[in-house]
Each structure stands twice: as C-alpha cells, then as structure tokens.
C-alpha cells in the first residue's frame, strides 16, 4: 500500500520520531557523554587521555566530596531540563502550554512514545536512577585513582551524594510546598517528610507563595504565558506551573551555590596591573578566610563540571524558549558574543612597561652574552608540549648541571617554546633564588590547571556568553601567571611546593640583564606567535643588533615599541609563549603609562598566541642569536674563545618515523583532507625545517669559522635529549604517576654523551658534516 503524504510509511515515521528526539535532546546527549566519558580519559590510551586524564586522579577526600556534588549537579540538571523540553514538545508545533501532566497526555507522535514518557516531568524514581547512574563511571574513576585511599574516597563520595541529594530536595521545596497536587518529583526517598515539615512552617509557605507570585508576574510580563496555568482561585492571576517553578528555583539555587564557590575559592593574586619592579616584593592577597577549614582551592575537574552545569542551564533554557520560534540557541549565543564584543571592545591583555633603550655600551647583545663562556658555548632549545615539556626542560637542566656544574655558566642561551618556556622561567627564577636545581623541576611540575579552570568557569565563560557585559580585569591567563608566580615563590618540601600567602617577588625581563651579563643565568628567548600575521616574535631581554629584517625575527620590543624596550614580567613572557589553544586566551598588549587619548598603531592591538604555532622547538630564534655570535667568532672578536658550540635540543615528545603514521581512509581524506593537512603541516614543517636548517647552519658555520681558527679546533655539534616514550599529558597538570614516568624517562646514556663531548673526552653526539 502506498502511504499518503499525511501518513508517511511507518519506517519513515520511525526515523522522523528518532531524529526529532535526537535533535530535541542534543544538549542532553552531548553533556551526558561529557559526564560519562570524560572521567574515562584517566585510563591510559583512552582518547584525550593526554589532555584531560590528569584531571580525575590524585584527588583528596575533600576534593572528591565536591567533585561528587558537581557530577550529580550536572546529571540532575540534565534530568530536569531534558524532561521539561520533551514534556513541552507539543506546544512547539501546536501552541498551548509548555507543560502537560503525564497522566493527561497521549503520545504526541513527535518523538517515540517511550521517550515521551521517560524524559518527562514529574521526575520519577526510574528517571532519577538513570540520570544518577550516569555519574557512576566518574565516581569509580576518581575513587580508584584517589590520593586519599579507597576507603576515605568512598566515604567522601558517599557524603557528597547525600549532601547533593539533600540540596536537591531543598531547592525543589518551594514548588513542592505550594503546589502539592502537581509535584515535579514523586516517590523519591525523604522528599515527602522533608517537604511536609517545611510546609508546616506557615511563614515559609507565605514567603514561597509570594515568591511564586513574583515569578509568575515576571513571566507574564515577559509574555511567557506558556509557562503559566490558570489560578485555582477564581479571578486570581495565572501562576507558574510547578515544574517550571522547580526549574527556576533549582537553577537559581545552583547559580547561587556556584557564586559562593566562585567567591570562596577565588585565587589569591598580587596586583600586577601596574609597573613591574625589579625583583621587588609585590603584596600578595591574604589566604581565603575559610582556607584552614576547607581546601584553599578546588580541583580543576570541579570547575570543568561547573562549566558543564552553566552551559546546560544556558543552552537548554534558550532551547526551551527559542525552540518554539525555530531559533537556534548556538546561533543566538554567537550573535550575542559578536555584537557584545564589538560594542564593549572587551579583550584579553598583558601588561607591557615601556623603558628607555639601554645605552649602546650597556646593551645586552648576543656577543656580550657569549663572552667569557670559555671553551664551550652551549645553547639549549626546549620544545613545547604543556607541563610535560616544562618538566622535561627542568629535569634535563637539573641532571646535566648536576653532572657538569660548569654547564650553568656555559649555557648562554635558552630558546624555548610553550611548555619549555614555563620550565625555563622556573629554572631562571630558581637559579636567582639560589635554590638547588631540583627545586625548578618540582615547581615546574606542580599543577596550575585549577586556577586556569577557575578563570575559565567564573571569569571568561561569563564574559563570553554575556558578550563582554560581565567582564573583569582578570582572566584565566592572568590567573595562570599569578599561580606560576606563587609557585615560584613557594618553598619546595620533597615533591610538593608550599605556597606562601605573603609578599611575592616578581621579576621583569629587564631585571635579568645583570645576572645574564655576570654569567649567573643564560639569556632567555621565549618564542611566541602573532595571531594576526602568523609571524614569530621573540620575548627576550636581548638587544639584537640592527633592525629586524629578513635575516631574523622581531623581538617584542621591536614589534610593539619603536625604539623603547617592551618590558614584561618573566611569567607573562612564559604565559604568552605558552598560550596553549583555549587553555590560555590570546592576549594583546596594554602599554602601561601610554598617553590617554592617543591612537595606538594598529599592530599594538595584535594578539600573542603560543610560540608552537610557528616553531615548536625554539630553533629559529636560537639561530638568530647564534648568527651574530659566530660572525664575531669568525672575526676573532675579543673574549670569544670558544672552540665547541653545542646545541642541545630538549624535546618532550619523541616522534616516530613519519612513514609509520597510519594512513587515513579515502572518506576522511575527501572530507577533511585540507584540515588534517594543515594541522599536520604545523608539526611536520617545524620538525623538518628545524632539522634541515640547523644542520645546514651548523655545517656552513663550522666551515667558515674553522677557516680562521688556529689548528682548526672548532666544532659545532648537535644533541637531542628526548624521553623514550611518546605519551604524556599536554595540559597543566601532571598526576603522581605522570611525574614518576617523567623522572624514569630520563636517558642518562644520552646525557653522558653530551657531558663527555663538553669534557673533550667524547665525540659529538650528532655530528654535523
């Protein structure tokens, strides 16, 4: 039988209902997957393990308590919002109320009948059990990997479940005690006695009735009449349906709880808005008042789930109201973001202090830096790769300097990128504090993800979804810098860092000049990329001779200020170099003491992003520095007597042979070929360009300098130190297991070859022809 257009074939109708359900619950599916599968990333080899896996491990009992509540908060938010959306589906097409009592409805046919009964309000035990079970994988993972031990972790999780459930009952109480015939949760344990007890408090009932009246009036004023039902008293104004009232009280309660968390756990930070003094104390904010009772900071995973709850409430609310107008919530948010940011001119900034350029005789040129190095001139380049790269950089420097203390004076340049820059910043700061080399390693592997997640959840996400209307001077990038500063000022005890709440000593790049000239520390070049042009920029205190031209990249001073020095904090430099995609925001310069009303040149508004976009190894900047030094050596300049130039490449990740990479299928190549190619080029081009350019550079200069050096005793040599494995986290968090793996991945034989070469007792590890 041929079906008529009005009654499509049954299998088409089936498909229609399922696709409707899929579309209707799209945020539900997505955030359910977020809830269930994200914790599984703690397991080795699960996709995203390297980026997110560390979030769910090594949690203390307190942290598990809070994380459990966040898991359940997200699960139950989904339960209510998806129920209300499906429950009101008929009104999207046929108008009318956005809520119908379950027992009054017959299947609408828009979605499968079972789904209409299951995803609905009132919430019943089956729904409650299903949505609560979604947190089980997450709880299993955090308990199994807890720092607290399984028993304490289980107790904490249990306490978290009980607290969250009581909060749910209390937040749902207003609707339940004034609308006893149409409760939005039925047959759930403890609900009836608690609501009955609360309902017997007359002033409370009056207050809730008043609140319901206010909410109803606001909804009526906004024209949201589909959320209202006629009053039970004749002539009374319409009142909000109980399920919508419960949704409003729950959402409001959650927002209040989140605001309390944001206030109590706001990271302490020094005021770094103004000029950065030279190695002088900056007043630190006092520790939170409750710091002694509960932990001073929450784990990053907690903030991740708070972001999830915020997005669920925002997106599903928009979907609920805009769906009936056929308007996409995502498109609406995009319009808000684009128009809002355009109107408010909100952006992310880093502070630059302009300083007069040094006199020529005081300039910190590559040649002055290289002077007095002795027989060996060592350049260290450190690759990007998140906290693992930071840890690998400091581990390598610790081990090498332990084996050859003279190396600290022989290393004259640290050219670093992204995570390598963070490791380099800790190393320089630690040397200046007179700490043992191990301190930099411990500090650089200390997690700083929590403050970034806090910044994203409470500063940058509200800023984004409000189109810049809710804006703060702080952002997650600034919080990250402050955290690194606090860690750097902390005291290392074993494998942990005790952060002190008092004054914090900050360092500007210009404050490093003296120590570099004295040979106490190497000169740093933190590589970053300019987002608008894709060009490389060197954030460094080094004064390169002449104007930047086609022969080298620009320094930040040359890029931003014409003639003056653009001074930034050491931690700002590291952060800009390590603007890991979306973890830290792209930021533009805020020139301190710039004349008001003056129109800055357009390029000063350009944004800095991670140096790894251009060169993930730091080699290009190192060659820019080496070229004038080798020219001077060729000229046999005074004070430059080195006979061996060693470029040590610290690479946090070992790359396999490119020929071993798995081939993509034809479909993937056809659909995503250009995107995959562009992404592959970022790394592939950097690797092959660095290898080729470095080898060519070394071979050419070896020949040129040897021609003028007596006895031809001159050599340029390369060495690469990289861990044997390929896996590791890319984020700003290392678990205890990750730290152990990092420590065990050190390759003493490779390091011994480097030392032997510098001692003059061994051959070049990677000879250059």
């Amino acid at each position: 039988m041929t079906p008529s257009p009005q009654t499509p074939a049954s299998w088409l109708r089936f498909l229609q209902q399922w696709t409707s359900l899929g579309g209707l619950l799209r945020y539900g599916w997505f955030f359910s997957a977020f809830l269930v599968f994200l914790p599984l990333t703690a397991i080795d080899d699960v996709p995203l393990h390297g980026v997110l896996g560390g979030l769910f491990v090594d949690l203390t009992a307190w942290e598990i308590y809070f994380v459990t509540m966040a898991f359940l908060g997200l699960a139950w938010s989904l339960m209510f919002t998806e129920g209300l959306i499906v429950n009101g589906i008929e009104s999207w097409w046929s108008g009318g109320l956005a809520y119908q009592r379950l027992d009054e409805t017959s299947p609408t046919g828009y979605v499968p009948a079972w789904a209409e009964k299951f995803f609905s309000v009132p919430v019943t035990p089956p729904q409650f059990v299903f949505f609560s079970l979604l947190v089980v994988p997450g709880l299993f993972v955090v308990v199994q990997h807890a720092a607290a031990g399984v028993t304490a972790a289980l107790l904490a999780a249990g306490l978290g479940v009980v607290t969250a459930y009581l909060l749910l009952i209390l937040l749902s109480a207003p609707a339940a005690i004034v609308d006893q015939d149409d409760r939005a949760m039925v047959d759930l344990p403890l609900t009836e006695p608690i609501w009955a007890a609360l309902g017997s408090i007359r002033p409370l009932v009056s207050a809730v009735e008043w609140l319901r009246g206010v909410v109803s009036a606001i909804l009526a004023a906004l024209g949201l009449r589909y959320m209202l039902r006629p009053s039970t008293t004749s002539g009374g104004p319409p009142v909000v349906h109980a399920p919508h009232f419960i949704a409003i009280t729950n959402a409001t309660g959650l927002i209040v709880l989140i605001a309390v968390v944001a206030f109590v756990f706001s990271p302490a930070s020094p005021d770094r808005k103004n000029a950065i003094p030279e190695a002088s104390p900056v007043p630190g904010a006092p520790a939170p008042a409750l710091g002694r009772v509960i932990p001073a900071e929450l784990p990053a995973v907690m903030y991740l789930y708070i972001i999830g709850i915020t997005l669920v409430l925002t997106l599903t609310s928009l979907q609920f109201h805009l769906g009936r107008l056929r308007v996409s919530p995502i498109a609406t948010l995009l319009v808000i973001v684009i128009l809002g940011y355009g109107w408010s001119a909100v952006d992310h900034y880093f502070v630059v202090v302009p300083r007069p350029p040094p006199r020529p005789e005081d300039a910190l040129t590559p040649i002055t830096i290289a002077r007095g190095t002795g027989k060996n001139l060592v350049v260290v380049v450190a690759s990007g790769g998140g906290i693992l790269a930071a840890g690998w950089t400091t581990l390598a420097l610790e081990k090498l300097i332990e084996a050859r203390p003279d190396l600290l004076r022989e290393i004259r340049l640290l050219s670093t990128i992204s995570g390598g820059s963070v490791g380099a910043a800790y190393f320089l700061d630690s040397v200046l504090r007179g700490e043992p080399p191990v301190a930099a390693k411990v500090k650089s592997t200390t997690s700083s993800l929590s403050v970034t997640a806090y910044g994203f959840a409470f500063l940058d996400l509200p800023r984004l979804v409000s189109g810049g209307a809710v804006s703060s001077a702080r952002d997650r990038g600034i919080l990250l810098e402050n955290e690194w500063l606090a860690i750097a000022n902390g005291t290392v005890r074993g494998a942990v860092v005790d952060k002190k709440p008092g004054g914090l000593t900050d360092r500007s790049l210009s404050s490093l000049r003296g120590a570099i000239l004295r040979g106490t520390i190497p000169a740093p070049i933190f590589g970053a990329t300019i987002m608008e042009s894709g060009r490389r920029v060197m954030i460094t205190p080094i004064d390169f001779p002449g104007q930047a031209d086609r022969r080298r990249g620009e320094t930040l001073s040359e890029f931003l200020l014409d003639g003056d020095e653009a001074d930034v904090s050491l931690w700002t430099a590291a952060r800009l170099s390590a603007t890991f995609a979306f973890v830290s925001p792209a930021a533009r310069a805020e020139i301190a003491a710039a004349p008001k009303g003056a129109v800055p040149p357009r390029h000063q508004a350009h944004h800095m992003i991670d140096g790894g976009y251009y060169d993930n190894f730091g080699v290009t900047s190192a060659l820019d520095w080496l070229a004038p030094v080798l020219q001077a050596r060729e000229r046999r300049d005074k004070g430059l007597d080195f006979e061996r130039v060693l470029v040590i490449q610290l690479r946090a990740f070992r790359r396999g042979s490119p020929k071993e990479l798995p081939a993509r299928t034809g479909a993937i190549a056809a659909l995503l070929g250009p995107v995959i190619g562009l992404e592959a080029i970022r790394d592939g081009a950097a690797v092959s360009r660095n290898d080729i350019e470095l080898a060519r550079f070394a071979a050419a200069w070896k020949t040129r300098v040897r021609a003028v050096v007596p006895d031809r005793r001159f050599d340029i040599c390369l060495a690469t130190l990289q861990p044997p494995g390929v896996a590791g986290p890319l984020s700003w968090h290392l678990s205890a297991e990750d730290k152990k793996r990092l420590e065990n991945s050190w390759t003493p034989l490779d390091a011994a070859r480097v030392i032997a070469y510098l001692d003059g007792t061994g051959p070049c590890p990677e000879p250059v022809d």
């Binding site: 089936f14 269930v36 599984l40 080795d44 009964k117 299951f118 019943t124 299903f130 079970l133 409760r183």
Partner: protein
C-alpha cells in the same frame, strides 16, 4: 501526581535499558583502550587471541592468521602479558552489560509492538545477544586460563574459546539482524 503503574513500569524498563546501553559503551571504550598497547606493539588484539585456537581454520580472516602460542610469545617478549590479563579481567564485565542490554531491548521492543502480546514473538531474536554474552563468558574463562600459562597455552582451551567466539559472533549478528528488521518494519 503519580504516573500510572504501566507508565511507571515502562519508565523502569527504559531506565534499565538506557543504563545497560551506557554501560556497554563504557566497557567498549575501556576495553578498546586496554587493547591499544597490545595492538600498537605487536599488532595482535584480544580478538586475534579469541580466534587463534582455531588456527588455521580462520586464516582467511585478518584475525585468524596466527596460532595462540605465537601471539602469546609475542606479548611475552614485549612484556604485555599483564596488560592482556588486565584486558581479560575487564572483559568478564563487558558481556554482563551487552547481554543485559539485549534482553532489555528485546523486552522493550516486544511491548511496543502493536500486536503485543499475541504477535511479534520474532522480536525475541534481539535477545540472542544474551546467549552471545553467556558464550562470551565461557570464552573469557578459557582465555583466562590460557593467559595464566603463556609458555604452554592449553590447546583445548584455546580451541574451546575460538568455538565460543565464533558462535557468539553468529548470535550477535542474528540479534543485530532482528533489530534491523524490527526497525525497517517499524514495529516499534
């Protein structure tokens, strides 16, 4: 207002079916991750071990071209026997999840059939997944024993595991086919 009893029963069925489905996905992801080092370092996954007892009967498939002792020797060489055992331990839970899912799905589909309870009994074919799960557990027991002694794997146990694996795959195919027919006939 409390929903009617049949509505509540349907809700419970939906809740357990969806939960079993989520559990199946979770275990599939975990097992896939646990098998990654095995596959990356030796090219052999657990499915190769499952069919290895029938070698060379299934040599025409990509998974049946290596005998059990060779796979185990390779894993032992690369220090992966512990990883394989870990995988095998979790594999005991996987059939519980997908077996429950197939039974619950069959019950649900049966109840949704317009001719219920008099017609549509063929939908029970979806529950063949539960039979597959039982066989999967038998196969797991055999492979567990094989992995306990990688130097001298029991040939009979390996062969039994392979036989269970083949019948399991056939039952899963039957369950899937029934489900697809149910969808195409839109009797749900």
């Amino acid at each position: 207002m409390t929903p009617a009893p049949d509505t509540r029963a349907g809700q419970w069925l939906a809740a357990w079916t969806l939960s079993a489905f989520v559990a199946t996905l979770v275990f599939a992801i975990v097992l896939s991750a646990l098998a990654t080092p095995l596959a990356e370092k030796t090219g052999f996954k657990m499915v190769h071990l499952q069919l290895s007892g029938a070698y060379p009967l299934f040599a025409w498939t990509p998974w049946g071209r290596t005998p059990t002792d060779k796979i185990l020797a390779e894993w032992k060489d690369k220090g992966l026997v512990a990883q394989a055992r870990r995988n095998q331990r979790v594999d005991f839970l996987f059939p519980l999840a997908y077996g429950s899912f197939s039974v619950l799905l069959a019950i649900g589909l049966r109840r949704l059939h317009p001719g219920y309870p008099s017609s549509g009994r063929w939908i029970w074919g979806v529950a063949a997944g539960a039979g597959a799960a039982v066989l999967d557990e038998c196969e797991n027991l055999c492979l567990w024993s094989v992995l306990q002694n990688p130097d001298e794997p029991g040939r009979v146990l390996a062969a039994l595991a392979a036989a269970a694996a083949v019948v399991k795959l056939l039952l899963l195919a039957a369950a899937l086919l029934t489900f697809l027919v149910a969808v195409l006939r839109a009797r749900v």
